[in-house]
């Protein structure tokens, strides 16, 4: 994968999941999440990685293993991003890829 900087952010990469573009990074998902601050990542950060097109990095986020799909994040989102759904998809993709 072509990288333009060491940070891993490749600005030319399109966002894989259309709905995350609407996210305004307000952090309500993280503040409503039971697992958000148990690891270095939070739902908001995962969504931000996706906004930058960093899908594989998002898939390997330690946060994904902690998510219990309580759907509180989806419920809290003011711009109707199904965050729990996005995380579910990432976890599944990660699982498939791992196999």
């Amino acid at each position: 994968m072509k990288r333009e900087s060491d940070s891993g952010i490749d600005p030319s990469q399109p966002s894989p999941i259309h709905a995350v573009k609407n996210c305004m990074q307000c952090g309500r998902c993280s503040s409503s999440c039971l697992a958000a601050f148990q690891s270095d990542d939070s739902p908001r950060k995962v969504i931000r990685l996706l906004q930058w097109g960093l899908q594989s990095e998002a898939m390997s986020s330690p946060f994904l293993r902690l998510c219990i799909q309580c759907l509180k994040c989806t419920d809290a989102c003011p711009v109707s991003v199904d965050i729990a759904g996005v995380i579910r998809k990432l976890t599944r993709d990660h699982f498939i890829k791992g196999r």
């Binding site: 333009e4 940070s7 952010i9 600005p11 030319s12 573009k21 609407n22 931000r48 711009v79």
Partner: protein, 801 residues
């Protein structure tokens, strides 16, 4: 001239017997009947029974009484109804005196009855003293012009001109540039509908050209204004156009022969001329203009204009080729005088010079341009014959947008220009529509697309290849090899570094007051706020300029979008109508200068918040009645008490003070306080306190004044020398005064008085100032209670008998 003594009818209105519970109204009537200048005293009910009203009317027509003092508690509606009842009997509305016992705390049931009766008598005597001096007053009608002068033919000025001409007014629209349209003519699109702004301008212009009532003066400046609201005489100076507007057909023959070519940004260059390195728009849009060219920014009037300073000496090519003989190279400037009843200022805005914002290398990096320049670039791929850009959008991969470039920044503009966020979203949308593959990066710290502009944000967010980055790039450099810009920034949301390669970086520069605002401010004498915009009372009177008859709209007032600009100029136009209807009505409460007392010290002239004084032929200050807002600050400042508002004269006030000093209602040890209440805020606050039954110490008696600034130091000195223990002045909170700064003026003056009191061995604390907002009832009660306690501690006034 000997005056006949006043014949006052004293009418006590006690509708529900409430007053009789608190005080002995029978005894009161008896006492008052024998009062000076009182012809009779009766107890009535509200509404007045027909028979009693008729009887009083008869007594008025027979001349038994010639004024009425009402005692009781009255709402505004009741006052108006009672006043109107006696108009048919020939009683002037200003010959009613009002003594509101509730406002003075006399009707409060919790107080001692004997004390209340004594206080009621003092209060009524004070009101009687005032009523005795009342005079019949009539409003005036001053003749006024029916035309309006509008300064600035941008979108605001043009639309106001259309509306006012439709209303039947003559409109003089003055524009400094060769064509109308202002900044809006430079835009490629209007958000949110994404239509072409030239359409909006064209529609108005069609209406204006068809109207015989609108004169558009281009290349014109306002150089002098004399007269007053309703009757301004304005001298205009027209710079030469060198092309006769009535003959030029805009055929363009001259363009083929004109030997001069120069790059022209059409006013969209966001830079100051000396720093204009040509790296911005001029490089992107290297289109050339001839010395003779269509009017700018919008080609109306259709006649061309010659930039004579660019002509080579002796060149007459255009003159030779012009088929209609419209060219007049010997044209000179012309002076013209017009009349107007009111002036609308719509001088608009100028882009903040981006060369001052050094971070992004505007003017150094060729790919860094301003947002107004971007508008021009976006117009090029739509508009035929637009100057071709060297910048190929087909090869463009990424465009960055930096919001707040030079705005909301302590070093540059400290305010938000309100339109740049939506403007950028609009530019991204326009760009992505034509070139869907171009990636856009928007650096911001807040996206302020307010109201329905949120939809713009949502739409843009959902576009592919658009990323919003909270934070700003620190280094923007041009890569010599590729010619692209490289920008480094932090994505604050993920905490990572991002390096972007951009073809173009668009700086959303802010709006500052137009350069012509300087000259207009000087010519019209308009004060400006700390940012250079015209401002009066921002919330309640946004359209005012602090100069009566001159109103402000559009971006001359503050940064705003086109829709708000139209709203604001129409508000201004609406307010201007008062002075453009043929007559100006002046309410009778205006101030009068007593020339036998005036020593021409000019303090009234200086302190008038609306600068309404002029000098008569003998050098006396005279208030211009059309400009006067009747706040009474001149009356307050006059050191020789020569100025009086006609409905609230200094004599009426001093008589009330004197009566209060001479009729003590409390024991010697109990301090008595006189409070002057600003009618706008403090008086309603006090009334609220009384209506709510909030306990206010009985020691205070209040006198309402039109503005705290109308309280003259002489009254304070009078009060203290008559043995009144303390004077409380209740005005507005700083910055809230509806007359701009009345509270500040009286604070300053009473501060000066305090020094004088010191030398008279009177404690400074005997004059106190309090700011009350309209619902500060509790604060008033607390203030009075604290003041009573303080005055008790100081001891009685040495002048007290």
């Amino acid at each position: 001239m000997a005056k006949t003594p006043a014949k006052t009818a004293v009418l006590i209105v006690d509708s529900d017997g409430h007053m009789a519970q608190g005080i002995d109204t029978g005894k009161l009537t008896e006492k008052l009947s024998s009062g000076k200048d009182v012809v009779f005293c009766r107890i009535l009910k509200y509404p007045l029974p027909e028979s009693q009203a008729e009887q009083i009317k008869q007594e008025l027509t027979e001349g038994i009484c010639d004024r009425i003092l009402w005692i009781g508690h009255f709402t505004g509606t009741q006052k108006r109804s009672l006043t109107e009842t006696f108009v048919p009997a020939g009683l002037n509305p200003f010959l009613h005196g009002w003594c509101d016992l509730l406002d003075q705390g006399v009707l409060s049931a919790s107080q001692d009855r004997a004390l209340m009766e004594k206080k009621a008598l003092t209060v009524i005597r004070m009101a009687l003293a005032r009523t005795r001096l009342l005079e019949a007053l009539e409003p005036m009608e001053l003749p006024a012009s029916k035309s309006v002068l509008i300064v600035g033919a941008g979108v605001a000025g043009l639309n106001a001109a259309e509306t006012l001409s439709q209303l039947g007014h003559k409109v003089h629209l003055v524009e400094q540039k060769s064509g109308v349209g202002g900044k809006v003519a430079l835009l490629s699109r209007f958000y949110p509908r994404m239509c072409d702004p030239h359409c909006g301008i064209e529609v108005v212009l069609n209406a204006l050209s068809a109207s015989e009532r609108v004169d558009i003066h281009t290349l014109t400046r306002v150089v002098e204004t004399t007269g007053s609201p309703g009757n301004y005489t304005i001298r205009l100076e027209k710079a030469p156009r060198y092309v006769k507007t009535d003959l030029c057909t805009a055929c363009g023959e001259c363009l083929n022969v004109c030997p001069v070519e120069f790059a022209n940004g059409r006013g969209a260059i966001q830079d100051m001329p000396p720093f204009n390195t040509g790296n911005g728009l001029l490089k992107l849009l290297p289109g050339k203009t001839r010395a003779i060219h269509p009017a700018e920014p919008f080609p109306f009037p259709e006649a061309f204009v010659i930039e004579r300073d660019r002509c080579p000496a002796g060149c007459q090519e255009c003159e030779k080729v012009c088929p209609t003989g419209a060219i007049d190279l010997q044209d000179g400037s012309v002076s013209e005088t017009v009349e107007a009843g009111a002036i609308l200022v719509a001088t608009g805005w100028d882009p903040f010079p981006l060369s001052q914002v050094t971070e992004y290398g505007y003017g150094v990096n060729p790919g860094v341009i301003g947002n107004l320049e971007m508008e021009q670039l976006l117009a090029t791929f739509r508009v035929p014959h637009a100057p071709l850009s060297t910048f190929d959008l087909n090869k463009t991969e990424a465009v960055g947008f930096v919001q707040c470039a030079g705005s909301r920044d302590d070093r540059y503009l400290k305010y938000c220009s309100t339109v740049c966020c939506s403007g950028t979203l609009k530019q991204v949308m326009t760009l992505k529509q034509a070139y869907p593959d171009i990636r856009c990066y928007i650096f911001y710290n807040d996206i302020r697309s307010t109201g329905f502009d949120e939809n713009l944000l949502r739409t843009v967010k959902m576009l592919d290849g658009v990323v919003f980055i909270p934070g700003f790039p620190a280094q923007v450099e041009t890569n010599r090899a590729t010619g692209k810009l490289s920008a480094v920034a932090e994505d604050t949301l993920s905490g990572r570094e991002i390096k972007l390669e951009l073809d173009l970086l668009v700086l959303a520069g802010g709006m500052q007051p137009s350069q012509s605002a300087d000259q207009i401010a000087t010519t019209l004498g308009l004060p400006r706020n700390q940012y250079g915009f015209f401002e009066s009372h921002h919330q309640c009177r946004p359209e005012e300029s602090q100069r009566t008859g001159i109103f402000v709209g559009g971006c001359a007032r503050e940064p705003m979008n086109v829709a708000h600009s139209l709203e604001s100029i129409h508000l201004a136009a609406m307010k201007a109508l008062r002075f453009t209807m043929g007559t100006v009505r002046v309410e009778p409460a205006y101030p009068v200068v007593d020339k036998t007392k005036c020593d021409q010290c000019k303090r009234c002239v200086e302190d008038c918040p609306f600068s309404c004084f002029y000098y008569d032929e003998k050098g006396f200050p005279v208030p211009d009645l059309a400009k006067c807002r009747q706040c009474g600050n001149c009356m307050g400042v006059c050191p020789v008490i020569a100025i009086s508002k006609r409905d609230c004269t200094i004599r009426q006030l001093s008589q009330q003070v004197e009566t209060m000093g001479n009729s003590p209602f409390l024991d010697y040890e109990e301090p008595i306080i006189l409070s002057f209440l600003c009618e706008n805020d403090a008086a309603p606050a006090v009334r609220l306190a009384m209506e709510q039954g909030i306990p206010v110490p009985p020691n205070v008696i209040s006198i309402p004044v039109p503005c705290a600034g109308a309280v003259n130091n002489a009254l304070l000195a009078d009060a203290l020398s008559l043995g009144i223990d303390g004077v409380l002045i209740a005005g507005c909170k700083e910055g809230h005064c509806h007359y701009v700064n009345g509270d500040q003026l009286v604070r300053k003056r009473s501060g000066d008085l305090k020094d004088k009191l010191e030398t008279m061995m009177i404690e400074q604390e005997r004059v106190r100032f309090v700011s009350l907002e309209i619902r500060d009832a509790l604060k008033y009660a607390d203030t009075v209670a604290a003041y009573v306690a303080d005055l008790k501690a100081i001891g009685p006034n040495p002048f007290k008998v």
